[in-house]
């Protein structure tokens, strides 16, 4: 059971794709003007760290 998840704050995200390039699992994808996260996400937090705007957050439940 996955107790953490990656939350994409669409109100903050500027859909630049920087996070897609650093994702070690290839779990993020930029579809035109919105970002998607797939099940392959391992909640490593790399995207959360490098986002220029702070639109990504790993939520621990």
């Amino acid at each position: 059971m996955n107790l953490t998840m990656l939350n994409i704050r669409r109100d903050i995200c500027g859909y630049c794709g920087a996070c897609v390039s650093v994702c070690p699992e290839g779990a993020l994808e930029l579809i035109d003007a919105y970002l998607t996260v797939e099940d392959a996400c391992i909640n490593c937090g790399i995207c959360e760290k490098i986002c220029p705007l702070g639109a990504l957050e790993v939520i621990k439940e």
């Binding site: 920087a18 490098i50 220029p52 705007l53 702070g54």
Partner: protein, 397 residues
């Protein structure tokens, strides 16, 4: 959209556009897909390019040139500033482009050469046959199309997924992404012929902050910081906002531009059976400046030329496309990336004190050319003792 082309280009930036234009001009059937609804937007760029680099590709046109740059200013962490004026010695500096118009123009030219172009059309998966790329599934307006092609060009930029889907690891190490934020601002009290670069670990750790004028008191005011320096409360935008509050409190923001620039080594291989990877997708932006427009156009054109030869010879295997990879690596651009990667590895670790003394010592040099190479060569000559840590770079310079 046909079902079969000689070449399918994924991505409508400068790399994809030049690959398509080059191949279409020689009579190949070319399809270019761009996932966004408009070419050239949203901008992900500071828009600077060296004059000599640009004119390699197309004659300058005022339609997509915002400003003609004559000088550059470098500001040390302690506030000390020095001016580089190569134009005084008759040498060219650079342009600040209008990428929205520039990128459109390039795709326009590709289309005029015969390329079929589709926007709001996204590659969602490669078509794989016997372990090799044979085309792509393209989604447009809610429909899926299977497009076969002898050669696919992955020109899908920093957020590249196509090569990864085809089995190539394109992950940028997070320490080697410059995370960037920029405002297009107006009402700025600036010299419209001068670019300014600010250095320092307080201002832009493992990166730099730039002011690139766009005419009439407007400018791209932006920053890139090292991925490992970024986090909550100290992101690229936080550093930029702090700088602007202090430096341009009366400036007005017209546009927010964000993005990532890779400063890692290029992909270990930029070819596979029936596929070539160009531009930012190949991780070939300059590790010192972050510049990628020329590199994308150069690799795009080279990939187009390689595709023509391969299709003529009836062999589009990895081996047949390998000249693309070896040629760009051996080119002036390839050598510059290799050298600037080594330099970046040293520079991003320098403390402010060291950066200060470097800028102070460069200011004593009369620079006639504007390039990182000239700058570094002169710096080594002028102050060898200061740069003990850069000793091992002598070989690459």
């Amino acid at each position: 959209m046909k079902r079969q082309y000689d070449m399918l280009v994924v991505g409508g930036g400068p790399g994809g556009a030049f690959a398509a234009k080059t191949a279409a001009e020689k009579g190949l059937s070319v399809c270019l897909v761009e996932k966004r609804p408009a070419i050239g937007t949203p901008v992900r760029c500071a828009e600077g390019i060296g004059k000599e680099l640009l004119t390699d590709f197309l004659p300058p046109d005022p339609k997509w040139i915002s400003t003609d740059i004559e000088r550059a200013e470098l500001v040390a962490p302690d506030g000390f500033s020095m001016l580089l004026e190569p134009s005084k010695a008759g040498n060219e500096v650079g342009y600040i482009l209008d990428r929205k118009v520039f990128d459109r123009e390039l795709v326009w030219k590709a289309a005029e050469a015969g390329t079929e172009t589709y926007v709001k059309a996204r590659a969602t998966a490669p078509i794989m046959r016997n372990g090799a790329v044979a085309g792509a599934v393209i989604e447009q307006h809610g429909k899926k199309y299977e497009i076969n092609a002898d050669i696919v060009i992955a020109a899908d930029g920093i957020e590249s997924k196509f090569a990864r889907w085809a089995g190539i690891d394109t992950t940028v190490p997070y320490k080697e992404i410059e995370t960037c934020a920029q405002y297009l601002m107006t009402g700025l009290p600036i010299d419209s012929k001068r670019t300014t670069f600010y250095l320092g670990n307080e201002i832009a750790p493992a990166g730099y902050l730039w002011v690139f004028p766009k005419g009439d008191g407007t400018a791209n005011v932006g920053i890139g910081i090292g991925g490992d320096k970024s986090g909550d409360g100290h992101r690229a935008k936080d550093y930029l906002d702090r700088f602007i509050a202090q430096k341009f409190p009366n400036g007005k923001t017209i546009e927010l531009i964000i993005g990532g620039v890779s400063v890692c080594k290029p992909l270990a291989s930029t070819v596979a059976d029936n596929m070539m990877i160009v531009g930012d997708a190949a991780r070939i932006s300059d590790p010192i400046t972050g510049g990628g427009i020329y590199n994308a156009m150069y690799t795009g054109r080279l990939a187009g030329q390689t595709a023509i030869a391969a299709i003529e010879a009836g062999d589009t295997s990895r081996e047949a496309l390998m000249p693309y990879d070896t040629t760009w690596r051996a080119s002036k651009m390839g050598k510059a990336i290799e050298r600037n990667y080594a330099i970046k590895e040293v520079f991003t670790r320098l403390n402010d004190e060291k950066l200060n003394s470097i800028v102070h010592s460069i200011s004593k040099i009369n620079l006639e050319h504007f390039s990182t190479l000239t700058l570094l060569k002169e710096l080594m000559k002028a102050n060898p003792s200061l740069l003990l840590e850069l000793r091992h770079l002598r070989s690459v310079l």
